[in-house]
Amino acid sequence: MSYKLKIALNVNSESFEADVEPRMLASDFLRDELGLTGTHVGCEHGACGTCTIILNGVSVRSCLLLAVQLDEANIETVEGLGTTREMHRIQHAFREHHALQCGFCTPGFLITVREILDTLPLRNDKEIREALSGNICRCTGYDHIVKAVRTLVNERDKRLNS
């Protein structure tokens, strides 16, 4: 039953066309077919969060999505956030606060933070921790990640109030 279907999609404002086997996961497609290896693959069953991407404006697990389901979609991956020379403000905050050690989980955290800064009030650290609970980090103990997000939330609220 091995056959391929044609998909057309937009990733980080660039158009792509590809032929994919129906069983190919979106995470494998981004990494192996498009070479966008910033999206990491950890547990492959939706538990760890490192493969999180933005699908049509909202964060999703790319390991719980098929590549064929990306047809006609707009995707944003961590590569779309910023570059080494021009980092996104979220990436800056993570660097400033040492919010990563090995960095394996970081792409998923960055994408999750991108969404929750826009959608949740994040009034205190408890709310930040709850919002980040779908992403697992085995190095930092989360404190520095929470500090980075707290800084970003404070900046956001200052901007909104000014």
């Binding site: 039953m1 091995s2 279907l5 086997e21 129906p22 069983r23 190919m24 996961l25 494998d28 492959e44 069953h45 939706g46 969060g49 999180t52 699908l55 909202v58 964060s59 999703v60 697990r61 390991c63 719980l64 999505l65 098929l66 064929v68 389901q69 999750t112 969404e115 929750i116 959608t119 921790r129 709850e130 919002a131 609970s133 779908g134 992403n135």
Partner: protein, 285 residues
């Protein structure tokens, strides 16, 4: 961990979806937040996958003559944001906070949660508590099922493989009623060890209707009928609730598993039942 090969169909209409299900081993995918992990583990290996995500008419939350109809493909995050649901069933947004995590709530659907039928899941509990009806489309037309008919066992429902869950209907609740929901899980977003929802109605300072529904303690969500019946007609007070509360545990025999022991589950049931019932009382008094 990759899914086994399958044939992929993406119908744009319900008629085409029904036709696609006419196959000896077809499976519907909605949000895929339970099905794809099982396919990645190869616990499930359908020969044909029928993706219903392109069927736009399944996306709606709308008011009907008798209540609210929530389409199969409504995502948990959309239900949590819906102003129509916030107006009539604020309990839904309260419960959605407990459904997994942000990214899963963005993708997972009402119908997926209903059909997956995890005994700890929020939607099966809510639909049972709110006495909803499940709308099911098959080749001979649309039928409806009540939750106690629909849920048969953990991960087992009575829906046929050739049928599609198209919506759930929640009948409107009369005004002097309040609803509350809470659950305890080991970590934020994990499956609940115990989840509890309640609906409390007071007329003339008397409990005129009480519903208490428990998740995570049996094969399916269960109503605490003995407790409910004891409390209906009693004065609307904390004392009445406390007096009837031991009846919540009547006939309950929850399982031991890696998430919680049976004894711990029973103590959670008591604590959470008291908490949600008092929440509704606080709102009313």
């Amino acid at each position: 961990m990759k899914p086994a090969a399958f044939e992929y169909l993406r119908p744009k209409t319900l008629a085409d979806a029904l036709a696609a299900l006419d196959h000896e081993d077809a499976k519907i995918i909605a949000g895929g937040q339970s099905l794809l992990p099982m396919m990645n583990f190869r616990l499930v290996q359908p020969e044909r996958l029928v993706d219903i995500n392109q069927i736009e008419q399944l996306n709606q939350i709308e008011k009907t003559d008798t209540g609210i109809r929530i389409g199969a493909l409504v995502r948990h995050a959309e239900a949590a944001r819906s102003s129509l649901l916030a107006e009539h069933f604020p309990i839904i947004a309260k419960a959605m906070v407990h459904v997994a995590h942000v990214a899963i709530r963005n993708r997972g659907t009402v119908a997926g949660s209903m059909c997956h039928a995890d005994p700890s899941a929020e939607w099966p509990l809510l639909v049972t508590l709110l006495d909803g009806e499940i709308e099911i489309l098959g080749n001979s037309g649309t039928r409806s099922a009540k939750p106690f008919e629909f849920f048969l066992a953990p991960l087992v429902t009575e829906i046929e493989e050739t049928e599609i869950l198209t919506a759930i209907h929640l009948p409107l609740i009369a005004n002097p009623c309040r609803m509350a929901f809470d659950e305890i899980a080991q970590r934020a977003g994990d499956f609940a060890a115990v989840a509890v929802g309640t609906l409390v109605c007071v007329e003339g300072n008397i409990f005129s209707e009480i519903r208490l529904c428990l998740g995570g303690v049996f094969d399916t969500p269960v109503r605490a009928f003995a407790f409910e019946n004891a409390l209906i007609g009693q004065p609307a007070s904390v004392e009445s609730i406390e007096a009837a509360l031991p009846l919540v545990l009547k006939d309950l025999e929850p399982n031991d598993d890696i998430h919680a022991s049976a004894a711990y589950r029973l103590s959670l049931v008591s604590a959470l039942a008291r908490r949600v019932l008092f929440d509704t009382i606080d709102e009313m008094m």
